[in-house]
Symmetry: D2
Subunit: 372 residues, 4 copies
């Protein structure tokens, strides 16, 4: 058996997918052969050049041709969010498995349509919530499942970056709801939800508030004009989880100095776990255990004890990188396809994540508690 | 001129006050003489023993006698919260200046009565929000005032400890609203509010939720019975500040591993400040300034550049301790009395802090936005 | 043009080389085509299986056949250190470029012979000192070159792991000088020297001491016998650099809790740089610059400002991993071959690094200063 | 019983002593009464003013009068190092107990004379190695004694500040051996030795090197002249301890960014302890214990579990400051005097510490191993 990849897009995430699928088979010994079948981008000569660099067999500037390519089994979608739905629906209709970047779509209704189509067609799906594949994070979920910190009773999460912190940054389409959908919630917040749900289970209801920090931005057209920012720079929510716990989610795209802050902590009845993606190879664990005078948060450096770290490196403390998370994601998807079992997070799983960010948006705009 | 101290209580905060007033004059060269006039505790022999240890001239087991003592100019109240109001009102009535531990009272109405009485009588007051006297924190407020991080646009705050984390801890009066008032909000949350207001100015409105993590606790009477916990173990709030910024306040008394976590961060348009009380001699500062490849959060170690650190030690990085914050607080109060100017935070200032925690409680119980 | 790789070994470093050469062309757009031509290991079926997994065209259990393979341009040697010399000399004799893991050989004389042969033959060489390719480290060297911290006047370095910390670990050939050569100096210490020389330039002389912490270890043969440990568990040296600076190098393979500690700091006349490989995506920089009250060590998170980070990921703070360093190393070697310029660190460069660890050994054994 | 303090000096250390003796009795309930009997400084009006501020009964500008004062039982010496010996010998001759700041004297011979005199006279002595009284450090020594990290086999220590880092700083008497004695070794290095000996026991022999980083400094006399720096800016030593362990001591007074770096780590056969004075309320502990995937360095925040922290504050994580260490030191001295037992570190203990820094100096100047 072999699996052919058709990849749409060659930007940040496009390259990340290409490198991941290229590496996955060599890292993990248990995968079917992965063929880099077809790469799509525009214009055609960029597609051709990147196909050469990434090692794809074919290149095209027509994503519908890629979807129709009989050598393509997986369609990986890394285009701007507004394009996800149309491409995913076409791929599903063609019976292809779909690896879609997050968020699935601009609005929840579109994402729901994608999920329904995939379920109806029976294809495999996965959404690019790559941080949940980090061995440090996986280990955190395992510790919770094993009861190491007791019952999880409280949650804290924050995800911040600074790519919109500069007040003088020019207005772009990213600020328009019709083009970009949500702001920091769509870019960053949904990642945090994926971690929250992985650690705490599903969200039951929430209250929230959002903030547009920079109400307008200078137009890049050389005029003195300014464009309106329509979506949130920052968002805050207080959650009630189905398991009875409470917690908070906060996010900002205008937080100077934060480059990939994605911090979570889970308060348990016997201990605490804390994790920070900016130090993605470390896990903080406190246990109410042993002599009190020797208790403290321990910094666990990931290693072969934390699968699948060992597939990359047999020595602890040597560290995985962002790209390796994408490789784990790709391997998980190919493995699920080969086994005929659902990948995680499928469109169904991701829909639950994304429902939360839209609920935050609704709660903030309507000033009321939203049930999920 | 000299100032006589009458101190009620010899527990955690009582001793802290005694040490602080004892040290203040020696640390700071500009204060009037401070006399440790009278110490009150029960029983009388404990009062006498502690007076001997702390260096007070007189001891009593009758706080009304202390209030009436003509050698007492300042009445410092460090008794359980339920007793603050009665003692403060008596001291004010006797024309004494009042140094009251936080929170001022169990309920907001009692605190308001205290504030009105003090204002009417014209005595000086200060409330024990000691963390705002930390030179690292003071420096943070100064950096914001000076515009170093631009306009403050977003706030994050967390205050956690673990003294109620153990599910097997026995029930005490602390769990009963009638005796203890609020839970984590009264013990910890109000400290966080004092920092938030110091950095961001007053709060305009908020939404909130609270959580009782351990619904019952075993009774300590040897029976198998369990007592109900009536006040919150954890609380979360989303704030709107008068200056237009938003932010969050979260607090838990059941957070394993946190011993004195009191973390704040202020997002500005030009940079960010972050501070963590568990590393109270450090301040984190990020500036969007200089070569981008050299930007990063800098860890500023406090030193003589951060007054009044230098009064304790002329060498940076040598570190102040918790007790030193109390010494600064005591000195500030004595200095204000001598100068005839208001101390900070006075009953009026503290009332504004404590209004926020009560608003959080109301918002959580009534499920609505509360205006301040 | 294309470059064919012949890789000997499929263990920790063998896999790291395979993944690196597989990824390099896709990560960097400026490289000639890299063919994974031939993989050698024993037994033959393991070689075949790993060739399939890693994507090599051919497999063999005869390293001389790999060296003779006309499709092989680069011979990458990842076998135990005792085998490096013979393989490298054969590859050089066959006119192949050599990518050799560190240390080059058990003894300095063997390494010198390798260097002479390579120079005489005019082939390209590189030695696997992968940590010097870390963008954070490269940035540190650039800051020093640019005078950002002034003149470098003092150096500190430490490299520790805990793979020989357990006293009950069984004796292996690693403990015998004839088989393994040096102890912690050969495994870890030479990496530290590569960083030291990159930051400070060449070493002039040194004094040193070494320590065998666990004098004997239990034999794994089921007997009660114990084998002697002949090489050092820990080593310490005080260096004088050619540039007039002094500094220290310390290393232990028996340091519980250290997984990949590789810490350096450079004291300059205007500031300091500190780097720790266990947080390989961070660089610490202190500058005596700006208001004193705002000075502090800043934690720089690597990003596109620190080439070649951007070839992996356009977003800062997302982090590279250990494998990515190997990819940079492989790319640098292929690029040098294509350009006909020396790679860094060539056999000549690495010889200078390894001369230092042997000088440490000599100084410790003979109790005298050793000039380099 | 009561104990009268005579304090010579009102600078950095003078004030630290005054505050410490003032606080000690109130902090600790088990001490005899401490009287602040007499304060000496020049000129007389400064002595009088500071006596008033610190609460001393008498002031003088004649240290011999202070020594002769019958109300003085303890003579605390905080004057420049060159004056220690004469004052200490006079105090001893007068039968006074002596609390001397470190280092005891400029040279080892003077220190030895002081030790002999004190022993002969039978007075109590203590030297101001305040960092060893830190509860975090005391806890570290206890953990080692209890075998928690197994047998201590290796040591690392560093002590750095930046008060001589600026090349443009003017020349002072501190740079002249005849006036100041050693450089960084006398100021900082001896503190590190006190920690090393506390953790590892006595040093047997060592090799060392020292460095004058800034060979000359501008004269402050307005001329263009430059003065020679005669004593070391940086020093490095490799130690062999009596217990068979090895280790390193490094120190610099010209290390930009370090304000009070005083870092030690002890490698044991079962774990590791690391401590950093710049985070003086934290202790790092790694144990090879429990599930491997959960092992990591734990950050222990000091609290009442770490005596005598609880005498200052019953709540963990609230933190002691530098001044509190001095208070513990003073209390320990008074307690020893009252009990008639030796204080730690006495002149005898301190002599062993200071012998090490002089041995480092000798080894560096003579290029040979020095036995202790």
């Amino acid at each position: 058996m072999s699996v052919g990849l058709g990849l749409i897009g060659t930007g940040f995430m496009g390259k990340a997918h290409a490198l991941a699928y290229r590496a996955a088979g060599a890292v993990f010994g248990d995968l079917p052969e992965i063929r880099l079948a077809c790469l799509c981008d525009t214009p055609a000569d960029r597609a051709a050049a990147m196909a050469r660099q990434f090692g794809f067999s074919r290149a095209t500037d027509d994503w519908r041709a890629l979807v129709a390519d009989p050598g393509v089994d997986i369609v990986a979608i890394t285009t701007p969010n507004a394009l996800h739905q149309e491409m995913a629906l076409a791929a599903i209709a063609a019976g292809k498995h779909v690896h879609c970047e997050k968020p699935m779509a601009l609005g929840l209704a579109e994402a729901e349509a994608m999920e329904r189509a995939a379920t109806a067609k029976g294809v495999h799906t996965i959404v690019g919530y790559n941080y949940i594949h980090n061995p440090a994070f996986t280990h955190a979920t395992r510790l919770i499942c094993d009861g190491v910190i007791g019952r999880p009773v409280h949650f804290r999460g924050a995800v911040d970056e600074d790519y919109q912190a500069d007040p003088d940054l020019a207005w772009t389409w990213r600020a328009r709801r019709a083009d970009a959908g949500l702001g920091t919630l769509g870019d960053l917040g949904c990642h945090l939800v994926s971690l929250a749900c992985g650690l705490m289970g599903p969200v039951k209801s929430l209250i929230a508030d959002t903030q547009i920090i920079h109400a307008t931005r200078p137009l890049a057209d050389g005029s003195d004009g300014r464009g309106e920012v329509e979506n949130e720079d920052a968002a805050s929510a207080i959650l009630r989880f189905v398991n009875g716990a409470q917690g908070t989610l906060v996010s900002s795209r205008s937080a100077w100095g934060r480059k990939n802050k994605l911090d979570v902590e889970v308060h348990g009845t016997k201990g605490m776990i804390a994790f920070s993606q900016e130090r993605m190879n470390e896990l903080q664990l406190y246990l109410n255990d042993g002599p009190r005078g020797q208790q403290g948060f321990r910094t666990i450096l990931t290693g072969p004890e934390h699968p699948p770290y060992g597939a990359f490196c047999p020595a602890p403390g040597h560290q995985l990188g962002f790209g390796d998370l994408k490789t784990i994601e790709a391997a998980n998807f190919v493995r699920a396809i080969a086994a005929g079992t659902p990948a995680y997070p499928s469109f169904s799983d991701a829909l639950a994540f994304e429902a939360v960010i839209h609920a935050i948006d609704v709660s903030a705009r309507e000033g009321r508690r939203v049930e999920l």
